[in-house]
Symmetry: C2
């Protein structure tokens, strides 16, 4: 299996790339091609929109590549996602696209046009030190276990298919755009990071007002990390917030899910395991 890494959002840290290459060398069951675009910088982004889109299109069109792994999140994939959905080369259809966080803009649009997208850890996660794991390298191994061997132990354990997983803020910001997929019957997993409780409440208001989102089978809540303190305190936690908005919208709240912006983040294939 040949895996290409590109960065549609922010640049990949070289030390993360080194660690992931070491993990791949140790495994010996796949080849990793880290596109030089991953290390470019143009303001906030890993190269200009044009450069990021060109790298993405290049690996999508390469028939020798089996999987496209998004290097990291941050911000910026929304700026090129609609262009990347259009005029798909045939070779784009036989690959798996893996990532999470800001990559959700690509996941949404790519799923909509029939590509095989998967939520899961990314190369930059190699640098994480949470969850008592070895600096996030276990997260990277988990992603590779899924990509290379379709190892079901990498999966979020209570998935029902069809499933989708999104960062809540990313999902809110793609509603009403050309990237919005059909949510009918979907096991929708959401997670959040670095947003105050009041913002989570506001985003849930927005998301659950969508007639499309209301057609999901159920909403499940992953971890909500690094919530900034707010004055006044919101007095309700994230599970209470999500459950209330599900109730208001007549949606099923399916409890917690094992995903998040952390080293424990698990794999969620959109199309099925």
């Amino acid at each position: 299996m040949k895996i290409a890494v590109v960065a549609p959002s922010c640049p990949l840290k070289p030390e993360a790339a080194e660690r992931v290459q070491a993990i791949v060398a140790d495994r010996g069951d796949c080849e990793l091609v880290i596109h030089p675009q991953c290390f470019l910088t143009d303001g906030h982004f890993a190269g200009s929109d044009h450069v990021r889109l060109a790298a993405l299109r290049e690996v999508m069109a390469d028939s020798t590549i089996d999987a496209v792994w998004f290097a990291r999140g941050g911000y910026g994939s929304n700026r090129i996602a609609e262009a990347a959905m259009n005029g798909l080369p045939d070779a784009a259809r036989s690959k798996t696209y893996l990532g999470y966080s800001d990559a959700g803009f690509l996941h949404a649009g790519f799923h909509k046009v029939g590509l095989n997208v998967v939520w899961g850890p990314m190369p930059q996660d190699a640098l994480r030190g949470d969850h008592g794991l070895d600096q996030g390298e276990d997260a990277v191994r988990r992603a590779l276990d899924w990509l290379v061997r379709r190892d079901i132990s990498a999966l979020e354990p209570e998935l029902r298919q069809p499933a989708m997983a999104f960062n809540l803020t990313v999902l809110s910001n793609l509603l009403g755009t050309p990237l919005e997929p059909d949510f009918s019957g979907v096991d929708l997993l959401i997670e959040e990071v670095s947003e105050e409780h009041y913002r989570i409440d506001r985003t849930m208001f927005h998301m659950t007002a969508s007639e499309n989102v209301r057609r999901v089978a159920r909403i499940r809540l992953g971890r909500v990390g690094a919530i900034p303190a707010n004055d006044p305190d919101f007095a309700r936690d994230e599970a209470q917030i999500v459950e209330e908005w599900c109730l208001r919208a007549g949606m099923t709240y399916g409890g917690r899910a094992d995903i998040g912006h952390d080293a424990g983040n698990r794999v969620v294939p959109f199309g099925g395991p």
Copy 2:
């Protein structure tokens, strides 16, 4: 003129209420009734949803009241806005509704059902100390000048009617909800506070994807205050961001507007001056 103050979002500070009452006493051209609900606290909010909605409905139904002034922003009016739009009493239709920031959720829904809504300073602004003014009291006087005397010097100076003004994040979060008004032909003024440049870019992506928003006459950008530093720096300022997304969406960018989360904030009647 009798003006009622209610707090559909967060509680009003008593010292702000005192200052505004002193300004009103000094003017002698209006009566201000500050509803006791303004000082209640229930977690983040000025009372529970039920209590805030009841106070709002009470003043909307009171035929002796000429204007409803929202005490302050914060967060929470979206939680009661749809209920407040429904079953409108006749007395609600002869009033002016004034506020900004989080009150935009009410403005959107109320404008949609034909009420007379106006963007402008709120009682809590009496405590502001920016713009070289006397602690925001000039902002409060400006709002009262419009409410009581329809003083055109309070207006945003380059308005074309019909106009609307919204906090960008509030506007983004009401798209696709029952509160979303018709933007056709509108001079749409937006402003922002405490959002990083990358978030402003992401929200502009979301907002300008809306076919409804694309029908505005033009987008004008108010002040964008208290932008948190971000690593990496976004390398583009707010005007460049807004102008780029207008260009991408085929919308007219009409330049800067004299509104914002500050003491210089001016008045924007949605229906016309």
